[in-house]
Symmetry: C2
Subunit: 149 residues, 2 copies
Amino acid sequence: MDKLYFEDLSVGQHFTSATLTVTEEDIKSFAAKFDPQPFHLDDDAAKDTLFGGLAASGWHTAAMTMRMLVDGGAPLAWGIIGGGGEIAWPKPTRPGDVLHVEAEVIEITPSKSKPDRGMVLMRSETKNQNGEAVQVSTMKLLVPRLPVG
Amino acid sequence: MDKLYFEDLSVGQHFTSATLTVTEEDIKSFAAKFDPQPFHLDDDAAKDTLFGGLAASGWHTAAMTMRMLVDGGAPLAWGIIGGGGEIAWPKPTRPGDVLHVEAEVIEITPSKSKPDRGMVLMRSETKNQNGEAVQVSTMKLLVPRLPVG
């Protein structure tokens, strides 16, 4: 797919990523490095917690969501460059989940100070194989304007 | 440090984490797995981008921030269990940065439906060795109430 510039985007435009399968090993290895808590590391220990079983760190879900967006889920010309936004994890990501991302353009705004770029507000839902959202986020992304001439 | 319950927390309470040093290898290996874009993978390629040099993925900064909070930066009794919140990356994290997290309790609210827990809104700034914030986030965390009896 061609890379998209500011002028190619419109409010309501949708993107859907390819899928990504989450293994128990993925969950544990991310957790060991970045979020070493029992409910992300050990299935038995996780049973006695609020999660009721092994669950991915929310930041792991966020990182996997980014991977799906970068791998073609949102083909923006400069790549996915985000300044921040909101994030929520309505349900945990579990071992064996098959995730994909559905993204939608919510708002597009030309930069006031820099004529070569604009800002896109993109809402993305990361869904599992049952259509349940494991992450909902709205992020501000930088997008280049079409070069003049 | 003793683990903190809802009753131990108060608005304005501060926590400071230990430091974490970010290597070029850390930045590239996170990026290769979760955010394979040139400005996170290759110093030369990064020079020609908005970042002007190798920079960590924002999600890597988020994951490292979580690690510092889990490692004692915010000693909550159930661990750090977040439902979501806001996040921003005012500046990139660079190779060699020495990060730490400064967290502050912004709001505490007992759960209306579940008498065993409450919600804590925690603002955290992840700062580099120059005191510059590379991440600012405000997250809703679940905290248990002290067991009765």
